[in-house]
Amino acid sequence: MKSIISTGFVLATLLSGGAWAQETIKIGVIQPLSGSVAYNGSADVAGTKLAIEERNANGGVLGKKVEAIIEDGGCKPADSVNAAEKLIQRDKVVALSGAFCSSATIAVMPVAETNKIPLVTGVSSKSDMTEKGNKWFFRATETDGLLAQSFAKILAEQLKLKKIAYIGVNDDFGRGGVEEFEKRMTALGATTVMKEYFDHGTTDFYTLLTKLRSSGADGVFVAAETQDGSIFVKQKAEFGLNQKVFGVGSWATADFMRLAGPAAEGIYAAVPYAYTMQTPKNQDFVTKYESANKEKPGKYGAAGYNALNIIMDAIQRAGSTDPEKIRDALTKTDYEGPNGKFKFDAKGQAHGFNIVLVQLTNGVPKVVATTSIGE
């Protein structure tokens, strides 16, 4: 008898738990919260949370509150896949945002496809991800190819760079960025004098810098995130090298400048977002982000914010939490974020938004050139 009562109690608890779960719309978020890009992953999560708070304060989506279930993928393919499986099977999320590093997102893409759950990334930039014919995958950011195409000309003509050294972090993002820029810059007449990669979390760049010194380069292209990138430019200054640096990754952020100190001065960065972008949407976003996180937003804060807003817009438009309908609604995205308008093409690649070339001057990312990503 006692066991029947307790079984009944457990069942009742489970049922009420289930009923409560009905009241929120769950979105799965996979970001690196450990490892060398943990810092950037946390910025993405901060943007994600801001988007959800804003939306819930305005009545939520379809009359329900939105809840983000955040998992640590550590920028690693295997851990990110585990996180995706857990979010889909156990938490029954209706859509996924993630998984930051291109290598990790590529691993999650087939999981999303098999389970028929839409996956939106605001970060992963390796060009060929949207060429895989995965109709459940959407990329709300630029690709390495688009970035290279937009800025190679400006770099070659305005900075007059002829001999270039390429340095990238040793993963799909770094290798992708280096390959694309090298292709474009070479087409514009620049020669490659060095091409090297380093591992995530590298602390000592002196070997690379020694090679850089003897390579005779007049400009250095670097594809790296905040931590690796700031250590690199700082050690480059220590080493007494004064080649011009232009980077892709999280460079136009307050933290990058805090970590790199005076060594950040004069660096060029091609980024999809800088807090100095002059749009009314952005001013509002910067104010809110800063009051919530005590720091100005960078590329990844904006990426998390955009990805979640795009997903929540789609759920609203679909009028349902059925993943299939959300996917269809995602294809009709017309969202205005801090960095411009986002629409998706047939392959799930976003276009219409702005990207900027900034120069870090006195601790501020000054916008040098703005261009929008065409279809």
Binding site: Y197, F198, G201, T202, E238, G240
Partner: protein, 290 residues
């Protein structure tokens, strides 16, 4: 030639850093037979305490360094008395599980308290380049190399020349006999782990002043420290120093002449070669123990 000299200098400097980072690990293993998987995390905690004292509290670098040694030593002492003492003499596996658990606890507590942001330990010397012929170094790096040498020597003297060091060595050669002649072995074990923790913490602070201190850095530090210790010989003092220098130089030359993308692999290639040809490391003490 200029390239070679610079690479050699980089390798030697890094090698010294590796040696200091690995010293605590090898001492704790050699003297206590505990494989400390939380070594990298103790390094990380030391680095972040160093950051809190110099950058947040505004204390002088040397005062902070002394405080880090005291705090980490005390922490190590307590870890041994409260945790490791419970699994003593039960073989190596419980120690491995315990220290892995401790490392997870330390990382996540730090993530909760400090967050993920990389932090910088402030140090008194400049980062401007210093040209020694074709070789570039900075004052701050030379200072850290000097500090490493001082600390390594101090640890060596502590073990070889002091009464505490003698009781440590006696206890680990034969703990029964040591107890019989009146050595308080509980105290000696705790002091040894305190020494290991203090060395890890001080390495974290010194290297945090030229690189960064960050909650999640421990794993990489542990990996490199294990490479150094296996190459040099588990438990060997000289082995840690030579192993560190070898790893530093090999990485620099491999990165310089072949490809920097695979530098982390080279350390493990060294380990494989070592395990095949000299399974007990360069400075093996296996014979003495047998």
């Amino acid at each position: 030639m200029d390239l070679f000299l610079q690479l050699l200098a980089n390798g030697l400097i890094n090698g010294t850093f590796y040696a200091l980072s690995a010293l605590g690990l090898t001492l704790v293993f050699g003297l206590m037979r505990v494989v400390n998987f939380a070594h990298g995390e103790l390094y990380m905690v030391g680095g972040l305490i160093g950051w809190a004292l110099t950058a947040q509290a505004g204390l002088n670098f040397f005062t902070s360094l002394a405080l880090v040694i005291i705090i980490m030593g005390l922490a190590g002492y307590l870890i041994d008395r409260l945790l490791i003492a419970r699994i003593r003499n039960q073989g190596e596996e419980p120690g491995i599980l315990l220290t892995i658990g401790l490392s997870i606890f330390l990382v996540n507590t730090t993530l909760l308290v400090v967050g993920t942001a990389p932090q910088k330990v402030l140090q008194p010397f400049s980062n401007r380049p210093l040209f020694l012929g074709p070789v570039v170094v900075t004052q701050s790096r030379l200072f850290v190399v000097l500090m490493c040498a001082i600390l390594i020597t101090a640890a060596h003297l502590l073990i070889q020349r002091t009464k505490l060091g003698r009781s440590m060595r006696a206890t680990f050669q034969d703990s029964m006999a040591a107890s019989l002649v009146g050595i308080r072995s509980k105290q000696v074990y705790a002091m040894t782990f305190a020494l290991g923790a203090a060395l890890a913490g001080v390495a974290g602070m010194l290297l945090g002043s030229i690189y960064v201190a960050q909650a999640t850095i421990g794993g990489l530090v542990s990996l490199k420290a294990f490479v150094v210790v296996i190459v040099g010989g588990m438990g060997s003092f000289a082995g840690a120093i030579v192993g560190g220098l070898i790893l530093g130089i090999v990485e620099a030359l491999w990165g310089g002449y072949i490809a920097t993308g695979y530098v982390d692999a080279i350390g493990f290639a060294l380990v494989i070669v070592m395990l095949v040809f000299r399974p007990y490391g360069l400075f093996s003490r296996q014979v003495e123990r047998a």
